[in-house]
């Protein structure tokens, strides 16, 4: 899909996965590498590795190198470097990037180049990040395996015959494979946390309203969030601090001060009350995943956290609730793809025929299925039975969280009931695929923050994620707990 001529440079980080925000900064300041060399090195590695992984859909070398030159100029003038100076960053292809192709993994947006940047992208770039390119994802972020991309599936760098998870599969795979040091994803029902879990890296969904969605191409507006993937919790915290905060261009963004999340990571976790809801450890949880998560909880207890058994009785209704609400909102949000203003048009004799043909051939099977379900749930005669009922169930699920957070500081669960599955293994049964979202959609509906942090591997070598939820705007405590877990060997060897 792209081609750039780049000369790889010699450097000690030959596989790209050793870099962190801090080590990039140190190497640049000490002039062990220039930002241009670093960008060039990453772009070359992507060129080499991407044909196998399909993690990137488009590269933006001009943009990355221009930013690199700005950073190198700052270094030459001995000026203070911004917080993300020279950070090689990947951006999920549902976030608008000015002049850089943005397809949402859909045929219907083939060739679309936005005229503006998403706020999250703009803030990270202003803080010095180098945007390497756009990452593959399930079409319009609808999916949990990245197999719904119109541009082909992504392979999990940990096990190439497996899916990377979804919908932010390309971002997770890029960071896990050392093709970016951090990445932006979006999470509507688990789309950051679950691929983070499958690829063995931290992925964080912040509180609803914490990060601006201006320039995020909407899937389900009451649920969509933008969040980071990184090599470690500290980097995820740093990226989040930079992009969080009120944005006048997003009227749903919260006017709540942003803490220095990375700065608070080393505060003690001793005495924190961690809730463990029995409802997340029932039928369907893979025993190998359960074993890793139980070991993770035991580790947190050894760090001085107090385990509090919880009941969150509406957990089992979350998948049904989520798939009615998310699809209803999607059916409305995706009405804009009609062949008039952007993307692809299939001609028709009348306006309506053009709409129908454009949408019928431009959208893939999963997107059409969800538009159909959402349109049905909102249609006359069914609205009360499905959509309104789901909104009431959502209130009960949110109440489970509110009540839990009266007693605990964080809730700890598995991220996904299963580790990464094989490509093609689950595509035939959409309902079975939806049911695997059981542990992530709850927090999405409740609006609370959640992170997936690596908790070791199954005997087969597949990563398992531990999910930590916090109360709304409790990012600091979620990240602190995840950091303590990571630093104490939570991920095993």
């Amino acid at each position: 899909m792209f081609h750039v001529e780049l000369m790889p440079t010699a450097n000690p980080h030959s596989n790209g996965s050793d870099w962190t925000i801090a080590s990039v900064r140190q190497a640049l300041s000490a002039k062990r590498i220039s930002a241009r060399e670093l960008a060039t090195d990453f772009l070359a590695r992507i060129e080499k590795r991407n044909p196998e992984l399909n993690a990137y859909l488009a590269l933006s070398p001009e943009r990355a190198l221009a930013q690199a030159d700005r950073m190198d100029a700052l270094i030459a003038r001995k000026e203070t470097l911004p917080p993300l100076a020279g950070l090689p960053l990947a951006v999920k292809d549902v976030l608008s990037t000015r002049g850089v192709p943005t397809t949402c993994g859909s045929r219907i947006l083939a060739g679309y180049r936005p005229a503006y940047d998403a706020t999250a992208v703009e803030r990270l770039e202003r803080a010095g990040a180098m945007i390497l390119g756009k990452t593959n994802c399930d079409e319009f972020a609808m999916g949990g395996s990245n197999e719904n991309s119109a541009y082909g599936p992504v392979r999990n760098p940990v096990a190439l015959d497996r899916v990377p998870g979804g919908s932010s599969g390309g971002s997770a795979a890029a960071v896990a494979a050392g093709l970016a040091v951090a990445a932006l994803g979006t999470d509507t029902g688990g789309s950051i946390r679950q691929p983070g879990s499958f690829c063995g890296i931290p992925g964080m969904m912040p509180t609803y309203g914490r990060v601006s969605r201006y320039g995020l191409i909407a899937f389900a507006s009451s649920l969509d969030r933008v969040g980071p993937f990184a090599r470690n919790v500290r980097d995820a915290a740093t990226v989040l601090s930079v992009m969080a905060g009120r944005d006048p261009r997003d009227s749903t963004s919260a006017d709540v001060p942003v803490a220095d999340y990375a700065g608070g990571l080393d505060e003690p976790v001793r005495g924190m009350r961690i809730g463990v809801p029995t409802d997340y450890f029932g039928v369907g949880l893979d025993p190998q995943v359960r074993e890793r998560v139980e070991a993770g909880i035991a580790l947190l207890e050894r760090l001085g956290c107090r385990r509090v058994p919880l009941s969150m009785p509406h957990t089992g209704y979350a998948v049904a609730t989520y798939y009615l609400i998310a699809t209803a909102e999607a059916s409305s949000n995706l009405a804009r793809y009609d062949g008039v203003r952007y993307g692809v048009r299939v001609p028709g004799a009348t306006l309506v025929e053009m709409y129908r043909k454009t949408r019928g051939s431009g959208f893939g099977a999963e997107v059409k299925r969800r538009i159909m379900l959402g349109t049905y749930a909102l249609s006359a005669g069914y609205y009360d039975a499905y959509y309104l009922k789901a909104q009431k169930a959502r209130a009960l699920i949110a109440r489970d969280f509110a009540q839990a957070f009266e007693r605990v500081d964080a809730i700890v669960t598995p991220t996904s009931p299963v580790p990464a599955f094989r490509l093609g293994e689950r595509v035939a049964d959409p309902l079975a695929m939806y049911l695997a979202d059981i542990y992530t959609v709850t927090g999405s509906l409740a609006g609370v923050p959640g992170i997936s942090v690596p908790a070791g591997k199954t005997p087969e070598g597949l990563p398992v994620g531990l999910q930590i939820f916090g109360p709304a705007f409790g990012e600091a405590q979620v990240l602190r707990l995840a950091h303590a877990f990571e630093q104490s060997g939570g991920a095993g060897d």
Partner: protein, 102 residues
């Protein structure tokens, strides 16, 4: 069956989706299975529960009672870029098939 073939065709019409015969059959079967599953929500007693349409973040304008900004006229600096992205446009307009017969 929760859903009929006529329902599928009606919903496709509402959603402006051209579906093939195979798609109609597939979606009929899949939507039926999903709708059967979501019936699970009927186990819940939701009498007196207020529907939750969204989470309202503190200070967010959209939920603060006055969600609308001032309607200030301002020039659009990117109109050329926007129109360049359209499948069919003039220098000032999007073009669509004729909608008014005369």
């Amino acid at each position: 069956m929760k859903i009929t073939r006529e329902d599928v065709l009606r919903v496709a019409e509402l959603a402006h989706l051209d579906l093939s015969e195979t798609e109609v059959e597939t979606y009929l079967r899949q939507l039926d299975s999903i709708l059967t599953y979501v019936e699970k929500l009927n186990e819940l007693d939701t009498a007196g529960v207020e529907p939750m349409a969204h989470v309202a973040p503190p200070g967010a304008q959209a939920f603060a009672g006055t969600p609308l900004r001032e309607d200030v006229q301002a020039p659009c600096a990117i109109i050329g870029e926007v129109l360049a992205g359209a499948p069919e446009a003039t220098s000032t307009h999007f073009r669509v098939p004729r909608v008014i017969e005369r």
